[in-house]
Symmetry: D3
């Protein structure tokens, strides 16, 4: 009695028969988005998240070959290993940068060889900054070791600390942002955000020896400026307090609207700091604080006192 | 002098010899869990996380083929591409829905063809709502662009914003939840939670043009109701304040216990809003606020003032 | 007119020609890090993140074969399945433990067979604790079901709850930490941290029936001690308030500096609890509280009252 | 001057616009083939080559766990390893056998639970013959070692000899063929044929200690019968001389039409032996011989003499 | 006593130190080959074997979606499935054809947009022939079923017969060859050659209903012409007898130098047929025959008689 | 009416219950093989086919980086690319060579550091021969181009000719064989045999400019000696005519027993040449010839004439 099988087949066909109408509707919904893109440029034109994931993996391996690359490098091999992965990474990056530039180019039917040339120039420029990026990341790793009593060696932050992962992505993304590459920097940052819960906008300018401990929930906005030897804990927000709208009611883009954090500041877990204010050098901001005005150097800001009382049976909270 | 090798072999055997006892204990520990399931239903019966990851990937590609699907679609190809991935997704979804239904079915030895039939009906119904889901997501993408001065185009939220990822999963999961599918909706949500740090219970009803910025740490509970054009920042909780226990001391399931957030509300980073309260339309809730009572429309709620003092050298915080 | 192609080739060569100088600089930057390691030990010596991901996957499958392993086990097959994956996991773990021990070994050129022997002993000891770990995790799953009105069955926490994932990693990592294995425990924890946003230091001692709901942003520090039947919500920090520096200005490592949380405590979302203080049994800590002093049993701690006011048109927050 | 890009886009669209017509034609071409299958049975019904590749890999690992399975088994682990892979293999095999039976079933809408029951019975029966198959393969490996001066150990045939691979597949396929499973046995054989160039029809009955050296081009037909201790070299064909047609002009299927090769026969490279003839025990057939009549025991058959002459300059061959 | 480890490290370094010299020598050996290519065209210019493997897989799936594509197509889904895979295949093919054309283009710096245009035209033309290719392959499958008493259904040749695989590749490769695409057709053929042992040069013109049984070792040369309903067995060669050299001593390329095989010819295993001769229609060529002159229609050619003698004990062969 | 599901579960359990007995029998069958190996050496000791596949891929990429490696190398990148893949290949090769040596070592418990040292020395020696191997392969590629009128460029043999693949593996395998490495050389050869149908024993000594056309079915035995500029076609065997047995009835291993083929010999398809005979320089051996005696230089050997007759209707062959 094979009915169940044939029944199921009919049932499945029931689903199949609904297909054309849904497909039609979804085609329609995407039509404008896709057609506009196709008409202007042709296919293959948007950056690819997969490609960018691969590029960042390569760059991490090139920056710290013993920790993120192969565990089994010989002394003689390191040189070749760095060169080979870097060559591949730059080739791939040039293509993604070109896509990013084409994407944002206003007059692209008129000047796309300009985009191609600029992709090469930008990639070359980016490459030349890698040693400097490596130096900054070295200072971040040292800051992590110095700032966390739980760290037992310089290798531990490199292997285990989400803050180091986030900063590696950030310093790469920030350089691309600085070079005017559209879309790609943000994609680099979001890959780290997804892996670490740390959301650093590529636009944020961050000094040496920066350490984010634990890190989940940290948000640093686009126009933030952070000095040297700053330490953040999980859940810290450096955000905008609001933003002016233009005449059409859209937010005005690009204005400085996030905090300036000077050298040697420590900000504890969950603090929310909003607006173009300045946290003076050497200040300490306590956990869970909500702060929307500047504080002078060496300030100490803490939350108002919590209330404790005896627990009454039967009550919730 | 080959001793190290043979020694090591013996050492390894030392571990191997411990195996049977541990295996025995772990078999025992899982016995009840597994036997009960086997006896009632047979194998192959639990939903598979891998399958659901694949289904959601397909559905995302079908909803935004140019961004989450293939980057290189021709105009003519979009139609086929959507159709092919949707067909595969629905076939796989039907199987997972069937497993979910069988799993929850009380009398399953008596009515599993009912489950199979319902899986088909549910999948078909789900498919027919995809264009509507696409419409809502389109409004969310627009809201992200409108609400973030850092966004430079409609493509940027689609490529980079965790809030858009979370809402894509949520609108899929919510539809399955609404159709009464057990387990699967929660699995869909948790995949997004893991990737974005945004935890939206599939039961939450969310209106059009919803925007979650940054998003890490956002929690929206099962019975939450959210209006149109609402904006949340990272770390916002819409939670339950507590829950009544039944006579056996277990929590009573299914009661409305999470907030109602009306249209055009903005809730800033880290706000914790608990219980079946109502945030009146147009209200703004400040960062880090702890709120357990309703507020009327157009309210503005902020945290008590933080305390600032001069930093005393030598002190910690 | 093929110029664009040949032009592009020249452009790419332009990037290529920059390679040697950058490679040289990056070799130099890593030289000391790598040379020191090579000289002392030889290659293949650092633990591998990929290997550890695989080991934890195996161990999860061994602990809950029906949920994290194969969905299609026969009754007869469970026994073999557990045994085979456990055998593989222990073999791989022995190697990683050996690498961890070698890494940390002060006198390693003099005693590495000691490391190898200890790796076997530690792995064997670890294996013998797996049934106990399984028992504790069983209590955690039950606590999740009991503590969340949204949970519909014991399977749901196993399939969907990040807190259960985090605790599975933690109980494995804590056992390895207890056995004195360097680096590996932290790597196990960080894999879960990345997937769940829950950051439990392997050193933390956690009792039975522990439940973390939602979980994103939870941080539990190295020397925390947590009793039985404790419940945490998202964003809770059990952290250090600061740490003494030694004469060289480095943090003194290993001192007890995180909270003790006694049995039956509930800590709500976003609470930050810092320092070696004690939260007395049965206490409830409210959301977003900042707490740096001990509270007696059955306390109820809440944030100072939030301020509500009428919303003034035109204002930001 | 971006023309190349936009030109190329148009060109690609030129291809895209041809799509619908070609798709239509190919749908039409497959319609009958597919519709017939769909109507009778429903989807999911044909065996899967990928699944069968996996099953044979599992079975090889189970038969020779040290050579085709994991290289790193502990003594204690072998037991679990064999059990786990065998359990998986049998589960998958049951499904493929069911598909094979359904495929061939004349009255399948009326009796498919019969097919399902038979799949279980067949799989169980197959499993019970695995030790016997292992025994035969053990004799084949020994024959390879004994028969090839180039073999240096019993492990070498297991690691390197295509003849051993082919026989492993064959002995599995022959058992399934013997049990009346449609399609699957031939698929098992063809996987080996592709990898080794040795084409053994699953129907061929082959005795103990069978050795095929080099093997490329060997063909053994469906109704061949081969005794013990037979040795074949590359390019040997045991084929049919022709086949009677039925009244409709189609070949009559299933008749004995291939050679019987008795014990201890050796057949050298390139010999072609056709028809239901008997090669008497202990005979030797020379290379490149074309043989279509029986030979008595202890015969020695060689090709007619080749002609040698002086090479004339300027000539080809 | 950790010496073995450190010793081994030193030993490994011993290998590493040899690296630079070997690398240098290999760079030198490839320099001319690579530099010539780079200078003329730029990178990314050679066809990719991986890409071509993917394209052929797609085309096979498009030609026989139920057998080489997804096993689980719904009736409604076939249409989309064919369209989507074909769209992808054609896009990828256009790129590979362009690379092939650029590769062979004499004046490529002067006319590469010509290559790009021709790649589009060729791909479009190729696509339009797919239904015809499908028709021819349908006749081949039928011929396999009709010609092999061991075949039990039309599905069996599609699933299991290497001859059908080889012909699918060949009919694709031949069309590309006919359209003047360099390199790619041969790569398509060699992929099948590797999998089946059947070596059909893309240039060979082959009629309808062609069947190669078993197939290992079959070689059909570039200028062969084969009629309808021809059947070949394993090891058959249709080759060149020799080839004239030009004044520089190189073989003159492109001359007709392989056999013409007319309709309804059968050629048995191992026959070697060389030179531009004609095998008249309806002829049968016996196994292992060596034939270098034309034969009239309805001929029957067999090998000279083999010699049989009694086996003398002690002798080899 | 859910019976089919529960029935099937029971049925599957029926299979499961057969498991223990079969597992037991298979454990027993492998016990001796495995125990012997374990006792002598420990785990991890046999060479791994996967590792060797990877090593050969690396070496091919290093020898012809533009064809088998990355298609997109920049001029500057080639140097790094070769170095990085070679470093990885040698590291992996050292480990496999060590395993091969340990495997074959008679007194291994007494001298395995000798094995480790020898593995390093052998690997280093092997590396130093790579430029020479590259030179020989260059001559083989040129010979393929010169000897095949169908070849259109030097790149075509590198991309498409199985003979070039086989020779690349062979020249690697032969060097390892010459250096006395057990097992590994044969594994390298068999990987090529499986892909090409060309079976070249690693022991065979082959001169410069060697070309195998088509190649399927070619067999070249262990002690063959082949001069410069030799050309073989498909199906050629250079084999042993028989082999003396020792007193125990086992073949005496290692004796010269395969042909010597002098410079400039051409051997056509299907020729079988057996025994330690010499084919004089400049000779041509016709297709399908069976040859067991030496021939002087400049000989021309062809098969006895085939017999042609009129085809009689109704007859088979």
């Amino acid at each position: 009695m094979a009915e169940p099988v044939s029944k199921r087949s009919e049932m499945s066909d029931e689903i199949g028969s609904a297909l054309p109408k849904v497909v039609e509707a979804l085609c329609l919904a995407n039509e404008e988005l896709l057609r506009r893109r196709q008409r202007r440029l042709g296919r293959h034109i948007l950056p690819s998240r997969e490609a960018i994931v691969g590029i960042v993996d390569d760059l991490r391996a090139v920056l710290f070959p013993g920790h993120y690359g192969a565990a089994d490098l010989s002394d003689a091999g390191v040189h070749y290993y760095i060169g080979a992965r870097l060559d591949g990474a730059l080739l791939a990056l040039e293509e993604q940068v070109r896509r990013g530039l084409l994407y944002a180019c206003e007059h692209c039917t008129a000047d796309c060889t300009e985009c191609a040339h600029r992709a090469v120039a930008v990639t070359r420029e980016f490459a030349s900054h890698l040693p400097e990026i490596r130096g900054l990341l070295g200072s971040d790793v040292q800051a992590a070791f110095d700032g966390d009593p739980a760290a037992t060696s310089l290798d531990e932050p490199l292997f285990c600390y989400p803050g180091v992962t986030a900063m590696t992505h950030h310093r790469i993304a920030h350089e691309l942002y600085r070079l005017g590459v559209p879309l790609i920097p943000r994609m680099v940052s979001e890959i780290a955000h997804s892996a670490t819960g740390i959301d650093l906008h590529p636009g944020a300018a961050i000094g040496r020896s920066f350490f984010i401990d634990h890190g989940t929930g940290v948000v640093v906005g686009e126009t933030s400026v952070i000095g040297d030897r700053v330490r953040l804990y999980q859940g810290v927000t450096l955000g905008a307090k609001g933003f002016p709208l233009d005449d059409a009611g859209n937010p005005v883009k690009g204005l400085p609207r996030h905090p300036i954090v000077e050298d040697d500041v420590v900000i504890y877990a969950g603090a929310t700091i909003l607006g173009r204010i300045t946290i003076g050098r050497g200040s300490t901001i306590g956990g869970n604080v909500w702060l929307t005005r500047s504080v002078p150097p060496d300030s100490r800001v803490t939350q108002a006192q919590a209330r404790t009382e005896a627990f009454e049976s039967g009550g919730g909270i």
